[in-house]
Symmetry: C2
């Protein structure tokens, strides 16, 4: 394969003509495929259906401690479910609060509470002139949407293969007391799929924040979402690393079973130091009388423990691997050597992140849409929806079937080529 | 029965001696009874157990419109559940958003959103010097706790047999633009059990608020919670009354199935004008990807419609009547004519509200506790936990068995008598 950049104008023009023929053929197919959102596929949902039999009208509805899950009580979650979620996060049960069906909702509430009530006694953020969050990019659009909604200024931090640019993180956090948080997806990151190295986690734990109310928002959404049994990423435990470093209160960990059991009908959790947990509960007790404990019981009895969870996640992985590989094979076969895009082969998580030539992402996404293939909007992986390079595209391969995914990937590479040829021709 | 106020000092002293004998006997029993919180009893929870069979591993998990309840989507709730909750509130389905398991959480979020983002474009309350809420008293402690937590000043409004003192409500709302809300439990009110008259509802609808962001927080928690089939209260529909009066956006209605299905595992809803619903959803879409739709499906298929709900609530009523009557009979038999307390016989809801002689409530609750009978803390039914008269006591008869309730009520009247005798002797 000859790299596009090494082609002459004539070569590019004849390539363009050939691609436009391919485009016409694709157009005639009238496809309708969606690679936009990280939704589990139908066969993944089917895996969890037996969970719905675990609790029925004949069930003993009491927790191991004898509390009736059908009535009020257990604000911080039933013991067995706290233990289950603690297993996912690798922390002691007492550091965990089990919440409702959405970890995003816990994150929103955490920022909202800090806006109005401050953090463990600090000045409420709504009383400050300026509040800033660091945002490793590309990242999760819904994180950025939360901070944007609260009027928090977002600062882009490059995300490398081993985590965020820690020089930059340290410079901001340790010197600017208006920096109150950083959004992290430390494992199988959304969207690049990378996991933070031990050194990165240790540098996080050893931050010396200028602001006492600075917190790391550690969204471990893909904690047990491996694609391969042989090559599983492991990240250091940020909570214990923070303790060791004398920063015990500096991190909030989040997770949920949204992509383990059912999206929207799972359970979510926050874990932090006991001091933080107490503070959070002092407001949670005003906000609600408690979360859905029957669903907590259902999850606890179905998954039992971390072994049960891991076994279940292997079944997910079996379904997801062919979809990821359909995309990766097409990328490699069709784009390898052309130097018009780069990507990382993820070992887990829900996404493949593609970096097109600068200035091409929006055009590629638009062209895909014209051919009936929906992608996450270009720019969505950046704060304010603005990718300064117009380069990053998030591919979500989980929802379509492997065959659909294969077809969608072929459309995608065609559009990448077409847009890249045009970009190259601009310079000739 | 001779009223205590008409007794001589000697009569009171000999009465006191007799009551103290009774007290010693009661003390020896070492009771442990709880009339503190409005929790459904065990037999009520059993009524809903068949709901847990409605959804199982063999179920078709799609909504009537064909959406998969197991995956992301339907932010405002699945159609059939919106219809069900709309039935409870007597409003069109499109005016309803179905949320999570807790209507209290919706109320908290509604106040929280107004603090940070304002109401449909108004100045965020956190930017204002003063925000006030009107609080009909006695009322629901958890309402007051929300407004207290956000630093909102609360103003007591007397609650009469037909609703709040509307002269006072009109005077505040129509003249003071720092008054942003009023907490209402319009039907089978917590704790007095009264329902708002048509005239009161119409006066609410015809308010001319000084503040454009004033809203009525209409917590219809006991909308279908009748105790008697023959004497059911009906209240006017505040949403349509507000429309008629040219105040379409002035009310937020709340309800839940917490005391219909399972507390903590039910579904909740907010209803309002379409304009308000749109505004709420514009933030809800940042806060969560959606609520638990499987539980919405479970509720919709189990209850089906308003007839199914009403039939279910009749079964609840059959269980609750004996408990309420145990208390009311004891109050009538033991305190009738003594003029040391007053109460209303409720036709629905979860509570009986007792007004002791001024200055006696705390002492009665403390004495009951000494005898092993737990009541809601005196003052809890008032903002800041401060009953200016120290008179109101909330009795929650739902959780104990009828026999326990009977025993607890006897302890209660004994303590009322003892404390009242002491109060009377003070003046002699």
């Amino acid at each position: 394969m000859k790299a596009y950049k090494d082609m002459t104008k004539d070569e590019l023009l004849s390539l363009k003509a050939a691609l436009e023929e391919e485009y016409k053929i694709a157009e005639a197919k009238g496809l309708k495929l969606n690679m936009a959102r990280g939704k589990p596929g139908f066969s993944q949902l089917a895996l969890t259906m037996p969970m719905l039999d675990v609790i029925n009208s004949q069930s003993d509805m009491r927790t191991m401690l004898g509390n009736d899950t059908r009535n009020y009580g257990d604000l911080d979650g039933i013991g067995e479910c706290r233990r289950l979620m603690a297993n996912i996060l690798g922390v002691p049960k007492d550091n965990v609060i089990v919440c409702g069906n959405s970890s995003l909702n816990i994150m929103y509430d955490t920022v909202s509470r800090s806006m109005i009530h401050g953090v463990n006694g600090s000045t409420p953020w709504c009383k400050l002139d300026k509040v800033k969050f660091l945002c490793p990019v590309p990242g999760y659009d819904r994180h950025f949407k939360i901070t944007e909604t609260f009027g928090i200024e977002m600062i882009n931090i490059p995300l490398y293969d081993d985590g965020p640019d820690m020089d930059m993180v340290e410079q901001y956090v340790n010197n600017d007391d208006s920096v109150k948080g950083i959004w992290c997806v430390p494992k199988y990151s959304n969207p690049t799929g990378i996991s933070y190295s031990d050194e990165v986690v240790r540098r996080f734990a050893n931050l010396k924040p200028a602001a006492t109310d600075f917190r790391i928002y550690w969204d471990n959404a893909y904690a047990i979402h491996h694609l391969y049994k042989e090559t599983q990423d492991n990240i250091l435990n940020i909570l214990s690393e923070c303790e060791k470093a004398g920063n015990p209160d500096m991190v909030y960990m989040f997770t949920s079973t949204s992509k383990i059991s059912f999206p929207g009908s799972g359970v979510s959790a926050i874990a932090s130091s006991l001091k933080n947990v107490d503070f959070i509960e002092s407001y949670m007790t005003v906000q609600t009388i408690g979360h859905d404990k029957i669903n907590q019981l259902r999850h606890s009895r179905f998954f039992k423990d971390i072994d049960g969870l891991n076994a279940h996640m292997e079944l997910h992985a079996n379904l997801l691997r062919p979809k990821f590989e359909a995309v990766l094979t097409t990328l490699e076969n069709e784009l390898g050597g052309l130097e018009i895009g780069s990507w990382i082969k993820p070992r887990g998580g829900y996404f493949i992140s593609f970096n097109a030539l600068p200035g091409c992402a929006k055009a590629i996404v638009a062209k895909c849409k014209d051919l009936g293939v929906e992608l996450t909007g270009a720019g969505a992986t950046f704060p304010y929806g603005k990718d300064p390079e117009d380069s990053n595209i998030r591919i979500a391969p989980t929802f379509p079937s492997p065959e659909e995914m294969d077809e969608a990937a072929k459309i995608f590479v065609l559009c990448v080529k077409l847009v890249s040829v045009d970009k190259m021709l601009e310079g000739k």
